[in-house]
Amino acid sequence: MEAVLRQLQNILELLTVSQTDRVREWDQHTLQRAFQWAEYCEQLHSRFQSNPTVRSALEAGLRDTNQRLQDALPAHSPVMFSDLAQCQHKLLVHLLTNPYSPNSVVQILFPNPKTAEQEFQFDQSSFITCKSAFNLLCCSFERTSQPGLRVEAEVRGKLLRELLNSLLTRPGNDEYARTVLDCILRDSAGKPGCIYDVIAAALLSGDDDTDAVTQRFILAWIHERDGCVSELCRSLSPGVCAVLSRQSPEFKRAYWGVLKQWASCLQYDVMGSVWVPTSDGPVTFNVLADRLNHLLISGAPLKEDTETELNALKLGDGDFSVKGISVWTDLIIQLKIGS
């Protein structure tokens, strides 16, 4: 363990140095060694990612080293345990963005058949191919089976699910798994809507009962975060929400909570004879109706459940048959539901 922690310290220092002007001194040999150490870190991560005891020991070591390096070099950006999985990539990116990095950095990326044997190569071409192949195929594949989820979200969701499965099958990883989801949400802040598609895909991609743990975990995480449920439901399409409601009673309850909350933000405009959203109302009457409609057309048992719920809500509001008093009555009328 001692030796491991020392190696970690070394690699952290290396990563920091790779962002400073000291890289001018790096020669081929240093470069090669740096990448080898980075690869070692990746293996470390892969081995101990789902082992809470070792992981926390390593995390503690990282915290200490981060602190030390922060004090010594203000340029240092803290390295988390999860970052270790991509150590070589991080190193490469640092070197490419560092104006002081030696020329050999660029040369290692271009496989030169003449010098291939002696020199160190870090060929990225198959990686670049995979990445663009993935992007290309996602662009070209119009998937009509899954309701409203693009294939890119579906694949990313599946991969996320697999990661969570591997973490949650071992005890003691809940906190860590939660951090993963938190970080993903935080880091996709540039395009908040799309991440919810990935999360929905992750929820939908579990196939058998052994996955139930992960299912519950993701739903619990959604609930714990302020405003996440309503954000999620708002950005997911009505069709996807319907499928999720079919699949998971928990989600269905949460969804209804959101729908009711949205309904409460609608008020009746007597002049126009329409329901309009209040100033902070997130959706219009028609949007709400459309969402309910998707629940209805998804077939039994969801159809019956939805009808029952709507009727119960109408009853709760006074069981009016006249428009303009209870939003639920009007919705039922619009959706042409018999009572």
Partner: protein
């Protein structure tokens, strides 16, 4: 120095601009269509850049290059294609200066590094960035798995659409298939794509109409022939059915590899032929057999003396017939369908392999074949018109295809008594000299008889009499009868009794020219293939064959 033409530059700059990030179907289609030409253009640009002495000079000579390459780096279609990616990266590396001398070069260096960074990273704040960063594995592994998943989803979709159940509500229309195949044009050599490519090809077969992008079919067949793609056997055969060009390419490719006369070819010709998948495909699809046959037949009319080609035709047909015999009776077409141009009564005797006829009956069987062929040739001589000539040619071609019977005849000649030799010699002569040009048949038959006589004495007497050695040597070097003499000689060496050492002794004395020795190897190749499919293995014969081969290979 071939500069890049201004019209080309303008054309490609406009294209790169209009393609943008190639996300829509129509852009994708356009990019795929132009990919080959783009690669040629990039090649030209690369050559131009390589001749520059510095980046500054490059930027002055090719002012468009920065913007052009930059735009292409954002196009996943261009990047995904193995060759265009490599060309692009090499162009970028040309613009990088190890010792930047001015601001232009320093700026170029930063720009090159930024491009590289962009190629390996995701846009900050995007979903892809977030999911890759916290994926718990390296970006390389993430994308490899992601690619595999998307390929398997797409493959599943294609397979489902083949089942054509109404309840799947037309989930995969022809347009979808077409778009998918368009996307695959750039990805044909990516190893993970093989299942999708196979499924797309199969879909096209099952659904009748060819909704596949033609570029896709072309690229797949190019990649297959140059071995940059490995497909399942079924997919390869499907491709041949979809693309006659591809099938012809495969047949020609096999032919070329045989004619280039590699040592390994002669040693395991049947394996090579079977590995090409052509015999199996020919047995399953009559039109494939007819196409391949046509190609080989045409080549044979040009170089009919070429023993390598003859060996190929013979072995191909033998492998094909083996496959046909292995088929279920209900799947089998009548052999007539595969040999439409031949006189029907020739089919049965020739297409029955010697391994299916008991050894004792070989002589009679061969006499039967001889009499049939003789009547065909006599018709020709009598009629003298083109039609009759064609009949003789087809009959002769069938004999070449069923060369195992000629080999059998020659094997029998080794131990035959003079009374039985005549039909066998006739067959051998006809095989090597099908036309009766200038009424030479009688002369050629005489030469055959002479060769046979000399060889008998040579291999039966000990020590080999020098006069016969000399006679055989002459026959083997005179171009008129070399092939025939070689044929006889090889069989004598292999099938005669007597000590093995005699093979080397005699061969060294009579076969001196390297070119002739190489030709003999082809005769050995077909003998070996015939022995491989025999009912039982004769070790004595195999060891003699090996000895002869070793002797011939010694330079």
């Amino acid at each position: 120095m071939a500069a890049v033409s201004e019209t080309d530059v303008q054309f490609w700059m406009a294209k790169a601009l209009s393609w943008g990030q190639a996300t829509s179907c129509s852009t994708l289609l356009d990019t795929s269509r132009h990919l080959d030409y783009l690669k040629s253009f990039l090649q030209q640009v690369l050559l131009g850049l390589q001749q520059m002495s510095s980046t500054s000079e490059a930027m002055k000579t090719f002012p468009f290059v920065g913007q052009f390459l930059g735009r292409l780096c954002w196009n996943p279609c261009v990047i995904a294609d193995e060759r265009s990616q490599r060309l692009l990266l090499r162009c970028l590396s040309c613009l990088y200066s190890a010792e930047p001398l001015d601001a232009v070069e320093r700026k170029a260096n930063t720009w090159v590094k930024n491009m590289l960074c962009h190629l390996i990273s995701e846009e900050d704040g995007s979903v892809s960035h977030a999911t890759v960063k916290h994926a718990g594995s390296s970006p390389k592994r993430y994308h490899s798995e992601a690619l595999q998943k998307v390929v398997s989803l797409m493959t599943e979709e294609v397979i489902k659409s083949c089942e054509g159940l109404p309840k799947t509500s037309a989930r995969c229309s022809n347009e979808n298939i077409h778009t998918m195949s368009t996307a695959c044009v750039a990805l044909v050599t990516c190893p993970q794509m093989a299942p999708l490519i196979g499924a797309l090809l199969k879909h096209s077969m099952l659904c009748g109409s060819s909704c596949l992008n033609q570029e896709f079919i072309k690229e797949v067949s190019k990649a297959l022939i140059s071995k940059r793609l490995v497909l399942e056997d079924e997919a390869v055969v499907t491709l041949w059915c979809l693309s006659p060009t591809c099938l012809e390419g495969a047949a020609v490719s096999l032919l070329e590899s045989v004619l280039s006369d590699h040592e390994s070819m002669t040693q395991s010709l049947d394996k090579h032929v079977n590995d090409s998948l052509l015999p199996q495909a020919s047995a399953d699809y009559c039109h494939i057999f007819l196409t391949v046959n046509e190609i080989y037949r045409n080549v044979l009319t040009e170089i009919d003396e070429n023993l390598a080609l003859r060996a190929l035709v013979q072995v191909f047909t033998a492998c094909f017939l083996q496959r046909v015999t292995g088929q279920k009776p209900q799947d089998r077409l009548p052999l007539r369908a595969f040999f439409p141009n031949v006189t029907p009564r020739l089919l049965s005797p020739l297409l029955t392999a010697p391994s299916e006829v008991p050894r004792e009956a070989w002589l009679d069987h061969l006499s039967w074949i001889r009499s049939l062929l003789q009547s065909v040739t006599e018709n020709e001589e009598a009629g003298g018109d083109v039609r009759a000539y064609e009949t003789v040619f087809e009959a002769w071609f069938l004999l070449v295809q069923c060369g195992y019977w000629v080999d059998t005849a020659v094997e029998l000649l080794v131990l035959a008594v003079p009374e039985n030799a005549e039909p066998l010699l006739w067959l051998l002569t006809f095989f090597h000299h099908p036309t009766n040009r200038g009424h030479q048949r009688s002369q050629q038959t005489a030469v055959a008889k002479e060769a046979w006589t000399h060889l008998r004495i040579l291999f039966l007497s000990r020590p080999p009499p020098p006069s016969h050695l000399g006679a055989v040597k002459e026959l083997l070097s005179s171009s008129l009868s070399t092939n025939l003499a070689l044929h006889l000689f090889s069989n004598f060496a292999i099938f005669s009794h007597g000590p093995v050492s005699i093979i080397t002794e005699i061969t060294d004395k009579v076969l001196t020219e390297a070119a002739v020795k190489r030709r003999a190897l082809w005769i050995l190749a077909s003998i070996r293939c015939r022995l491989n499919s025999a009912a039982s293995r004769d070790d004595r014969v195999h060891s003699r064959l090996r000895t002869l081969q070793d002797t011939l290979l010694q330079t």
